[in-house]
């Protein structure tokens, strides 16, 4: 466990030392959240936009942060960790916890700033919110690890991250409702964890639905996350 936390700690310190990372992870999403606060506070519209920002930036952050594994491969620190007296599973657990913590912190800051700085009219469903976000972050962390095993360069990570995030959010009925969607759009919305998460979060905040009504999205995101984590961890092991 100590070794896991050492991996978490060293990674976080490396990330936080990069000002661009902070701008990208917190500055930009905070600005977007603030901009969304000027939308009319009619039920559904504001939630859709501000939660869309949250869902999109958490996804973008997680996929690009997983690219840090590639960076470590290029720097040689990844190989050096693998030659240390640490089991592969402890190493991967460290990377998973690091990614999860970063995304959870980002999501918490965006939600709390929306509520307390920018006047979001949310006053119920906090437990449901935390559960859905935790499972959404879990699924996207799995996607990040999977891509880290699959892709070879940071450039590839950036390109694929943008493609997945843009397609999943813009066409996944996250920011704005799509009327009479085509078959392709329906498929994207049915697959995209961003779409499932955004709808679940919106339903919690506007309709006050309970967790028992969210079993399908929660199961889908958990299953997808587990599948991707297993595939990613095995793939990275083979690549190593």
């Amino acid at each position: 466990m100590r070794k896991c936390f050492a991996i978490v700690s060293v990674g976080l310190r490396q990330m936080l030392a990069d000002p661009m990372y902070l701008v990208f992870t917190l500055g930009l999403p905070l600005m977007m959240t603030w901009a969304m606060s000027f939308l009319p506070k009619e039920a559904g519209i504001y939630e859709m936009a501000s939660l869309g920002v949250l869902v999109m930036f958490v996804a973008l952050n997680l996929i690009t942060s997983a690219g840090s594994i590639l960076e470590e491969r290029q720097n040689g620190t990844w190989q050096r960790i693998l030659t240390s007296a640490t089991s592969y599973w402890a190493i991967m657990a460290g990377y998973f916890i690091r990614l999860f913590l970063v995304a959870a912190t980002q999501a918490a800051i965006l939600l709390l700033s929306g509520k307390f700085l920018f006047g979001a009219p949310w006053n119920h469903g906090y437990l449901e919110l935390v559960v859905v976000l935790a499972i959404y972050i879990f699924a996207m962390t799995g996607l990040g690890l999977f891509l880290a095993g699959l892709l070879k360069t940071q450039g590839q990570v950036q390109a694929v991250a943008m493609a997945i995030v843009m397609i999943g959010t813009m066409l996944g009925d996250v920011f704005f409702p799509i009327e009479n969607p085509s078959g392709v759009i329906k498929i994207i919305a049915a697959i995209s964890p961003q779409s499932w998460a955004a709808h679940a979060l919106r339903d919690i905040l506007t309709l006050g639905v309970s967790l028992s009504s969210l079993v399908v999205p929660l199961l889908w995101m958990t299953g997808l996350g587990m599948l991707l984590i297993i595939a990613g961890v095995l793939r990275i092991k083979i690549e190593a």
Partner: protein, 312 residues
């Protein structure tokens, strides 16, 4: 007991046999040189020993622990100093060492003492709190060594630790290696600087195309190189006809051409030189440099393979 035993190890990438039946062993307090040109299989061999790759056949044990099946126990005895510094540039030297110490099982007071000791060994105590990004290339290489030795490993792999460093850092690194040997650490040392290997290593293995082509103590290998000196003549363009004529000259054991360079193995370079020089001039070529080298591991490699250790 040997610290490292490698027995008939093979590793292929697709149809290319990168390591082909390599066996070697290293005992405590021994510096073991691994020589060979790029693509000889050195890096793959080191990756196999450090557990980054799995051999297709054969076994590797460190301190009796199998690197594949008892990886964590074997790796606890292993330190690695990669060719390029593998460090976290945004962290201080001390933070880096604390991390690598933790990853190798050190904690609390042992970790603190090990960090202090490693910084002292590489002479970076005064700069311990500085971010690695601010370090010079030589300082990074010294810290790279500190990260490899922080847990006092029984076996240390050092892959070209002196490439591209200033003379002061180089001397410091070489002295550190000698000190580690005196403390009983077994060291695998690779370098393209043959004189470094000759000076440091107790035994040397020469690899080419995935195989061990020669092995022994430095003096045994130099004896294999024979009494031959290496006469190196740089010209403005070698010719096939002149190569045939030079080969026929008395006193020349073997001759190789590499780009614009004739490399001649001879027992008496000074005696051979005038006739060789005349022959080259008679062929209409111009000589731009002449060097005579004493028998070395480089000339042994040339003799065995017809190539130099720095060939691509």
């Amino acid at each position: 007991m040997n610290v490292l035993d490698v027995v008939n190890v093979k590793k292929a990438f697709g149809s290319r046999q990168a390591v082909d039946g390599v066996s070697l062993s290293i005992s405590e307090g021994e510096i073991f040189g691994l020589l060979g040109p790029n693509g000889a299989g050195k890096t793959t061999t080191l990756s196999l020993i450090s557990g980054l790759l799995r051999p297709h056949t054969g076994t590797i044990t460190i301190g009796g622990w199998n690197v594949v099946t008892q990886a964590t126990k074997a790796k606890a005895l292993l330190g690695v100093v990669p060719q390029e510094p593998a460090l976290y540039s945004q962290l201080s030297a001390e933070a880096n060492l604390r991390f690598w110490g933790t990853m190798n099982g050190l904690q609390t007071a042992d970790l603190t003492n090990a960090v202090k000791h490693a910084l002292t060994v590489v002479g970076l105590t005064d700069r311990a709190q500085e971010r690695v990004a601010k370090y010079s290339g030589g300082m990074k290489r010294r810290l790279n060594i500190a990260a490899g030795i922080i847990h006092n490993p029984k076996l240390l792999i050092m892959d070209e630790p002196t490439v591209g460093v200033d003379p002061q850092s180089r001397n410091h690194i070489l002295q550190t290696v000698k000190n580690l040997r005196e403390q009983g650490t077994a060291i695998i040392y690779t370098s393209h600087y043959v004189e470094e290997v000759e000076d440091l290593c107790d035994r040397v293995t020469v690899m080419d195309q995935g195989k061990v082509i020669s092995a022994g103590t430095v003096s045994q290998l130099l004896n294999k190189a024979g009494q031959y000196q290496e006469l190196v003549i740089t010209v403005n363009g070698t010719k096939a006809t002149s190569l045939m004529q030079l080969t026929a000259l008395p006193g020349i054991k073997e001759i190789f051409t590499i780009n614009n360079v004739y490399k001649i193995l001879t027992s008496n370079a000074e005696q051979v030189l005038p006739l060789t020089y005349e022959t080259i001039l008679a062929e209409g070529m111009q000589v731009s440099a002449i060097h005579i080298h004493k028998p070395s591991l480089e000339s042994l490699f040339l003799k065995l393979t017809g190539r130099t250790l720095r060939d691509q």
